[in-house]
Symmetry: C2
Subunit: 225 residues, 2 copies
């Protein structure tokens, strides 16, 4: 199939990742836990959206967060200060999370605790994380208004593999040339089935719709839960 | 020295990159061309800063721009519309530029044309591009105000290898919790010699100081030019 050693190695690496990811998803399926993987550039507001949405999503002790970062415990500390359990995964240079990292953290967690949701905040990077299934049921790609409406066209893979597209920092739209209509149109050219949200964790606009979507996704996937 | 095949391969790949990068730098040295490599997240304003700074830096025909992107010709088109020559390098999925990509584009350019500056706009990614020397003399890392002041601590490698740190979109500082003092302090903990700029391509604040820095870097490196 492939004609260079480089591609061969990559395929094997991704196969190994998918094997671990499928194992995680099967375990989460059995426990009726919906897993959500958040992808974006650095500074698009992934942690801030979790802070704004999670405390009012469901009982706090039914949520577990995995925070991926190159360095620092800061994001996990922000989530813990909301009363929600969070594991920090520092990759030490690696530009994305891989399924085996999630598996290691998952095995260190208290797996007897019943959960409704697992949120995985990927390393801030709109490119590489798109190639790695982490066992999630829902993949979310986020772009903040100040980043510009050209991001879907320029970083198509993250959009091609996503279920939902969240435009964050909508409170800053008046100070930018960001066209919500253009961003949505170009994102849907890549992935027509994207569910789109425009929200601001700052003033709360759109956050309830985002929570409703997450709850609905869990109900649809686990109607017996 | 190394005990796994993975590390061995990576070291060889980076050695090969450095060999090509050193060749490019030697050629640019001989021609008194200062090469500048811009690194940032997607949407930090790399292209916008080039649009704001380049037309008034030196005669337009003495500047060449290499635009790195996963997809689209949009950034090169934006630069060309300013009357400045630009090559688009689309990586087709690769999350950073490598020296051989620059070498290919450089060989396609009109190398008889005398130049003062080459600007390389890397793929929008605050992680992977930091590992690849592109033959530049000056490496610039940029963070926009809306991204947050925690970026230096969370993405240290880009700062460790940089000469200058540019905080962009300063016009948006009033709408964010970004602390310029904290961002600079944490960046200088990683790389004490960083030259720092705070600017807005929107209202022009700080752009002249940035141009002056570039001109000074060229004079210092090529006093005979």
């Amino acid at each position: 199939m492939t004609n260079t050693k480089h591609v061969q190695v990559l395929e094997n690496m991704l196969d190994a990742n998918d094997y671990v990811a499928n194992g995680l998803r099967a375990e989460w399926d059995a426990r009726h836990i919906l897993a959500v993987n958040l992808l974006s550039s650095p500074g698009s507001g992934k942690t801030t959206l979790l802070e704004a949405a999670l405390p009012w999503l469901c009982p706090k002790d039914r949520i577990l967060v995995f925070e991926g970062d190159i360095e620092t415990e800061r994001d996990a500390e922000r989530i813990r200060s909301q009363g929600i359990d969070a594991f920090q995964i520092t990759t030490g240079g690696t530009c994305h999370l891989e399924a085996h990292m999630i598996e290691q953290a998952w095995k260190l967690s208290d797996r007897q605790q019943p959960l409704d949701f697992i949120f995985i905040e990927n390393v801030g990077n709109l490119v590489c994380p798109a190639s790695f299934d982490l066992g999630e049921h829902v993949r979310v790609v986020m772009v903040s208004a100040p980043e510009g409406d050209d991001k879907p066209a320029k970083y198509p893979k993250a959009f091609r593999t996503a279920d939902a597209f969240v435009i964050t920092k909508s409170d800053m739209l008046p100070y930018t040339s960001f066209s919500v209509e253009r961003a949505i149109r170009e994102a849907k050219q890549i992935q027509p089935n994207l569910k789109v949200f425009v929200l601001s964790a700052q003033n709360g606009e759109g956050v309830q719709e985002w929570r409703d979507y997450l709850l609905e996704q869990r109900r649809l996937r686990f109607p017996e839960a």
